[in-house]
Amino acid sequence: MVMASTTEEQDHHGHGHVAHHFDSAQQQFDAGKLGMWLFLITEILFFSGLFVAYAVYRVNHPEVFIDARQHLNTSLGALNTVVLLFSSLTMAWAVRAAQLGQHKLLSNLIILTLLCASVFLGIKSIEYSHKWGEGLLWAGAYTYGSEELVEQDKSAAKLAATAVLGAPAALIAVVSGAILVFWRKRLSSVVRTLVAVALGMGAIYFVGVGIGIIVEVLTHSSVSHEPGDHSISQVAGEPGPGVFFSIYFTMTGVHALHILIGMGVMLWMLEKSLRFEYGPDYFGPVDFVGLYWHLVDLVWIYLFPLLYLIG
């Protein structure tokens, strides 16, 4: 919605893409760009709160962080980093395509970016469901190391969590699939492509899940703990691993939320690009969404070492 407002209104009595209150396309573009940058710094300060919380607890209780960190799967984190970086590349390339008016390429690059985002979420869901199964949750719900967790209901819990997290993607895939099968004829080519992309996103999410599971299984050894070890179980009133996972979940959760928002905006942008709306004289929205997407990438670039590596 912010995006929508940073891209200027097409004014009825304005000419082309320049809104009535701007003198030139250049002024409009610069204004939009400055606006976008200002929005990005609000995002940075929004995340800064979480980083400060992280720093405060890390400085005051390093031991907690070192133990708790063992329970994050570095390979999954690294994998996601690569996926996200690649999506940044496609996004940056998309901006170029828009500037040069390469309409087909632009649409394809946006689609590619969307698919990467989907894979990222798929892999993330495996991380989350693993934590859920182990009871490695935020302080209020932290149950790790308490005896009543038996191996099989652990794996059951993991399965359930995976299912719950995957449900929306599955739903999207099924619905859009159904639409393609039954109403194919009635849809305009643009809408058809959009639905197809939705189907693709839904499907590839589970590719991400698959990859996640494989990696999880392969690298299980690296997660160095035997069930019921009390080295990091929560004591009321004392800063325990619960706080670490509180920070882990808020940080990654807020980040994932930004990914979702980004995906939504990109679909909106894809629709426009399929209508060939972007070209050398009007590519502001693509550029601005690109900036946003790179910022989400930037945040992850810091989250990855802070959460997965240091300790």
Binding site: M1, V2, A4, S5, T6, E8, E9, A19, H20, H21, F22, Q27, D30, A31, L34, G35, L38, F39, I41, T42, E43, I44, L45, F46, F47, S48, G49, L50, V52, A53, V56, W138, A139, G140, A141, Q234, A236, G237, E238, P239, G240, G242, V243, S246, I247, F249, T250, V254
Partner: protein
Amino acid sequence: MIVDINSEKILRDDGVNYLNCDRGWKSWAFTLDHKRIGIMYLAGILLCFLLGGIMALLIRAELFTPGKLYLTEDKYNEFFTLHGAIMTFLFLIPSIPAAIGNFVLPIMVGAKDVAFPRMNLASFYLWVAGAIFFLLALGLGGLDTGWTFYTPYSTTTNSTVIAATMGVFILGFSSIFTGLNFIVTINKMRPAGMTWFRMPLLLWSLYATSIIQVLATPVLGITMILLTAEKMLGVGIFDPELGGDPVLYQHFFWFYSHPAVYIMILPAMGVISELMSVFSRKPIFGYRFIAYSSIAIALLGFLVWGHHMFLSADSPLAAVIFSALTFSVSIPSGIKVFNWLATMYKGSIRLDTPMCYALSFILLFGIGGLTGLFLGALATDVHLHDTYFVVAHFHYVMMGGTLIAFLAALHYWWPKMFGKMYSEKWAKVACLLIFIGFNWTFFPQFLLGSQGMPRRYARYEAEFEGLHRVSTTGAMVLGVGLGLSACVLGHSLWRGKRAPRNPWGAATLEWQTGSPPPHHNFIGKPVLTDPYDYDDLVFDEEEGGFVRRRRRSGSEQEKPIKEPSIV
């Protein structure tokens, strides 16, 4: 210079302006016109001010006696909480920037609109949404945490904290959108001739305000998210039970909420800078210093939040550093005051209502600022912290400062907004009543505080009764004063006589266009002039207001011309 007869005709004959250019509620609800959005904001914040004001009076009434008069302790706590929350988030923060600024800023920079009109409208509707959440908090059993939502109380109390925090979160976005819009508008939409140092000072102060809004508000956002998560899921980041740290919450909260104090006061200072110059008929004294001091206050304002925690954390070092930084902010504020006074020197001072408010601003803000020294100094703060001294101090700054300046701005731009003049006489009476009532209410509270009366007390020791009674009586006078000024302005809307383009003889661009302005603000292009040069402005009987005289070399007699004219 050629006088553009046509544009003049248009403006003389058909009275088409932004108010009557199109009708129907849709033309307001979906308008992208910054002027209409400004007016909607104005209506909204005035309603909230009324609500918060009524609560204030109820609180004062209860405090007339030490024991219970008519409010239970719980109700009292809910009232002062919502009084604080509503006044801060729904009135003070949007007051001058979102309502007055929205209307004036684009016209002052000679633009057709703000850079992002849709975002502007979105900002207003977000504000409405936030207000609704607050009303929910009020309706669903009330909120009793104090407007600061300190943990762990806010996470343990079973009142409607979540509704309120969500409201604050949404209002944050509303505020960010306004600030972002203003920065871009000022940066990118000024006409070529208007360099940074030819901008009216109100624009400087609004720019500084916007910087704070954009940089600080997001932190409030994440704080509210964490607080909500804390309450709903038990993410123990602020909760000592789960190993969290309640003082960390205070840091998060004040990292926004102290700069927010400058979001409230900086625009007020901008308004005063304009008025002092216009009504002294003198160029503002020390333009650059006032401009720089605005930016300085905005930046230094980020370094002082710790003075709300002198007694919270155990680190004297931090307290000392924060105290030093706190004092550093007082300097630029002082600079502004002295420059305003210097502006009056050798002027020709006209005491119209806006000027009366401006002068009472200087006195009240002066007291408010000076009493800040007691609180910035560590040793005295230990005694005065969380007492009525603090209450009096911030009411002198926020109400004596921001509210009075808001009223000044309202009376100053009222003719421009609605094209009507109000009754000078009664407006001045109201101004006087407000000034007296205000001091009568809040000055005794300084004494209450230094004598050791803690704040947020529903019941109090008998020894404080005398001063509390004085204060309560004053509050009633203050209420009457505010009511009167509301009547005066309201009355002008249908009884007031038609306002000229430039009733005050001000030189900033908004006075070159009609009152009220046309839909696109100007017909033709405004003439860029020095915003503080009054030499060519002469009173014109036929117009009933001031008009610009054409500059002529030599003795040839001067003939007044009507703006706007195309260069």
